[in-house]
């Protein structure tokens, strides 16, 4: 354990201003989705308060991936045509791009790689949820996928100076890269991610997706389906080398996650074989 690094990380996470920030309107929208009494007009008004976000949202809403061929000229129109949940996904993409679309040095990810990875994981997770008739989880696992590795953006600086020790511990102790991060730095990128989402006041289920994406077996029972789907989408994207970094495939593929998601061998192989098409889709909104 590198005590001084652990202390430095502790300082960063207790001093909330050192963590990435999120416009309040995004948090409000994410929480509104689950409120059956929400009025579209209120949501549209909320969003249009932020001009920069509005511009980005309209651009994304008109991308091939989201628009479904319809022209969307206003937030109102987006809400009516695409629905509240889809608009929420778009808001999350617009709001997280600047946090994730940058070089992540310690993990050996050049600019754009982490962003591509997270977008691909989000799209694959949503696809799996829809294919498995888990419609109610589709938007949730998309949002979870977009932010699952957000902890890396903060931890990268410390991984940069301890990488050799982390990899060595992974191999010597036959543990995952995340467990070795824990052991060497006192924190792993899942825990840091959860702390960031707490700061943003994102719902607990999203916090749990981020916190357990490499550790499904310990996820709270209530959220295990969503965690499992993101875990599998993440594993498949890593295997296909999408945004793969210095931590490589030094993680675990959970049998419990596969069982929980109800995927058989043929389906798993099928999703893996789809990754080139998935990447093309990801580029439409990157």
């Amino acid at each position: 354990m590198h005590e001084h690094i652990k202390e430095r990380i502790k300082t960063v996470i207790t001093n909330l201003t050192a963590l990435p920030s999120m416009p309040e309107v995004v948090t409000r929208i994410i929480n509104m989705v689950n409120d059956p009494n929400v009025d579209f007009k209120v949501v549209a008004h909320e969003i249009s308060q932020d001009q920069a976000i509005t511009t980005n949202i309209l651009k994304l809403a008109n991308s091939a991936y989201f628009s479904k061929g319809k022209e969307i000229s206003s937030i109102d129109k987006a809400l009516v045509t695409l629905g509240m949940k889809e608009v929420k996904d778009i808001v999350v993409v617009a709001a997280t791009k600047q946090i994730l679309d940058k070089p992540i040095i310690g993990y050996d990810l050049p600019k754009g790689e982490l962003w591509k990875h997270n977008v691909a994981v989000a799209m694959l997770a949503k696809r799996i949820a829809l294919d498995k008739k888990k419609r109610n989880l589709a938007d949730l696992v998309f949002t979870g996928g977009i932010i699952h590795d957000v902890g890396k953006t903060v931890l990268a600086l410390y991984v940069a100076s301890t990488f050799k020790d982390i990899i060595q511990s992974t191999i010597e102790n036959q543990i995952t890269f995340a467990q070795a991060e824990q052991q060497i730095m006192g924190f792993d990128h899942q825990e840091i991610g959860q702390i960031i989402l707490k700061k943003w006041k994102f719902p607990e289920v999203l916090q749990n997706i981020v916190r357990y994406h490499h550790d499904t077996d310990n996820a709270p029972e209530a959220d295990i389906e969503a965690v499992s789907i993101v875990h599998i989408a993440n594993t498949i994207c890593q295997m296909a080398g999408i945004g793969i970094g210095g931590d490589g495939l030094y993680y675990e593929l959970s049998g419990k996650a596969i069982e929980t998601a109800g995927l058989d061998d043929t389906e798993l192989q099928y999703y893996y074989s789809l990754t080139p098409e998935l990447l093309k889709q990801a580029r439409q909104i990157m």
């Binding site: 080398g241 495939l249 675990e252 419990k256 798993l268 192989q269 080139p276």
Partner: protein, 160 residues
């Protein structure tokens, strides 16, 4: 003068000549680099799976991408007797708590790649495969050398 760097994506196949550098990033996929040392022309196929299930996408599978790669090199005037291969990739998840074949994709990709190269009588001169590292590989068509970057560590393979 700067040397052109060409990225080869998942399930893509690209041919180029000296002094271009072909680059790709690999997890369980395998990067197959074939070089004609006489013409200084080479190609890189980034395959995702071992056995073809879709004839419209030969670049995706080892058993169809390798013949396609050789054919394209022959069309450029390359000759079999000057060709040799280097391969990299085929990593697997470090741990798995299930017996899914998903865990064996890397191994299967490497095995099929070797089998097809042997059938096509292209000598395999070096391989950097297996394990759990992601790999960034650069194939230098200037002299056919291959650089493999994995987990913060670089390795060069020079034989052609």
């Amino acid at each position: 003068m700067s040397i052109e760097l060409v990225n080869v994506g998942v399930a893509q196949l690209k041919i180029a000549s000296s002094p271009v550098i072909l680059r790709t990033i690999l997890g369980s996929c395998v990067g197959i680099c074939i070089y004609d040392r006489n013409k200084k022309i080479g190609g890189l196929a980034h395959i995702l799976l071992s056995k073809s299930t879709n004839p419209s996408q030969p670049e995706k599978f080892a058993d169809t991408a390798i013949p396609a790669l050789i054919d394209q090199l022959l069309k450029q005037g390359c000759r079999r007797e000057f060709m040799s291969a280097k391969i990299a990739g085929g990593a697997s998840m470090f741990k798995f708590t299930s017996q899914t074949p998903l865990g064996l994709i890397g191994e299967h990709n490497v095995a099929m790649t070797k089998k097809v190269l042997e059938e096509k009588k292209i000598p395999l001169l070096s391989e950097d495969t297996g394990g759990s590292s992601g790999r960034v590989i650069d194939f230098y068509l200037e002299d056919g050398r291959l650089k493999v970057k994995a987990g913060g560590h670089e390795e060069y393979y020079y034989k052609v």
